[in-house]
Subunit: 287 residues, 2 copies
């Protein structure tokens, strides 16, 4: 019961609502979790069982056609904010059969020839699935805005386009959870430093990472706009303090559990005559 | 060391070679694993760490472009043989970001309008990925052959087509592991019975399951043909006794570990001047 209460809390504590200011969120905070790192890791392990159970019910209901409900988890954040770690340590606890994961990269020439939502639409979750976007259509109002990759008059129209798109997904039965992993610039530098001193982490480092670091304030401004203009009742944004990885993982897991519990997925009823099938089977078993 | 030795053993023990007879394989056997169920489950947990480490290296090498190697795991077996359990309990141990999973269903009208390999080609793993096929192009010489869904003259040509396709994948850098989960007909009936007495399992039961059970011998004959005609040095078949789920999971994990270890994936070298980047970072950290 204590655990359940904390999940409810965290949803309310992290949601982007009226008057939200990104600059006011402490990246090293642990809202809704008063415990230690060890307790956070224990809570994550316990939550994995609950998340996995809910996911199996959701999958069963989608598989059998008894429900069209699905979940979309959008993960955004600056480089090194821990997006991949969320996929590995939170999403990784559920059955891979029920997960549709996409890591959106720089758009290809083919993708750029279409509307910015075109490639995203091809990757939305089906009934019963948990869709996971590691980066997303929000890059089209983040990096695109910071570097003027399209004219301002164009990206300016995208906030409304995103809200319309997400409203459509919600109307189709999608519970949408959008997470921004919020780190401090100093923590980003420490994480980049780690990558430069561990040969097994070199592959995660790119020279452009430090170039981008110089645009920190412009990114925060672009996030502030996206978070406040696109946090809607059916597709809320949550800002998750992420300087402590254990907290961010627990928090995102709690948000996912809350979203799935809200759908309240049920085991589908039998689509066959149970007694008749039992009798057929009994005859075959020679009983 | 003992563990490593057993992995080597299991690859050789389960591989389909000259003179193979499916009817001679005991579905309740545990080849290469002399221990108990508890020991098997402990070995699976230990193997998950090793598999996950190898997978991360494979992913890193593919991500950075330093290697084009990849893995394709094909899972086949009669209904209830535990295909989904392999995905959940073996594949589920690795980072979802590196897995491309496909559950092939009855082909759609669009898919049927193409060659039988068309839909399969769209789902092969990219560099660094582990592709997982839950059912596969082998259905086109299994259910299709048993029920004459296409003329014999047509499915008869498919064995060569499959071998050519898999040779092409291997030449592109794909390590292919094809697994048939081998259960006994009595075990299938016991598993179907369980589904009929547990409302949380109803969704996994279909009336057609018992209808198909009547074709057991025809399926075994079709498997015998597919296993012997399509087990090649670069794309071998392995028949895994699967009446004991814990054994089948350990065995498939061992086959996957052996395949990844064979690729010997290495952390990619830095694609940048390490010292120069460390100096840039030091300046930013004010060090």
């Amino acid at each position: 019961m204590a655990k359940k209460k904390r999940e409810d809390d965290v949803t309310g504590l992290l949601r982007v609502g009226a008057g939200f200011e990104l600059a006011g969120v402490d990246p090293s905070g642990t809202p809704g979790f008063p415990g230690s790192r060890d307790e956070g890791e224990a809570a994550l392990a316990a939550g994995a069982t609950r998340l996995s159970e809910l996911q199996e019910r959701l999958f069963a209901a989608g598989f059998s056609g008894s429900s069209d409900r699905r979940v979309l988890l959008v993960i955004q954040g600056m480089d090194t904010s821990g997006k991949g770690g969320i996929v590995r340590h939170v999403v990784g606890a559920v059955d891979p059969q029920g997960v549709r994961h996409t890591a959106f990269k720089s758009p290809t020439a083919q993708e750029l020839a279409h509307d910015f939502l075109w490639r995203v639409r091809t990757r939305v979750p089906g009934a019963g699935q948990i869709g996971v976007f590691d980066r997303s259509h929000y890059e089209d109002v983040l990096i695109v805005r910071v570097h003027d990759l399209v004219p301002a008059a164009e990206w300016e129209t995208r906030y409304d386009a995103i809200n319309a798109f997400e409203a459509e997904l919600a109307a189709q039965g999608t519970a949408i959870v959008k997470v921004m992993l919020h780190i401090s610039p100093a923590e980003q530098l420490r994480r980049l430093e780690k990558r430069l001193y561990r040969p097994d982490k070199y592959w995660k480092y790119a020279v452009s990472d430090l170039d981008e670091h110089a645009y920190w304030d412009a990114y925060q401004e672009a996030y502030q706009a996206a978070l406040t203009r696109c946090s809607t009742p059916k597709a809320p944004w949550f800002v998750v303090p992420a300087d402590r990885k254990w907290y961010a993982r627990w928090a995102v897991q709690s948000l996912l559990i809350e979203a799935l519990a809200g759908l309240d997925p049920q085991w589908p009823p039998a689509r066959f005559d149970v007694e008749a099938e039992r009798a057929r089977l009994k005859a075959l078993l020679g009983g």
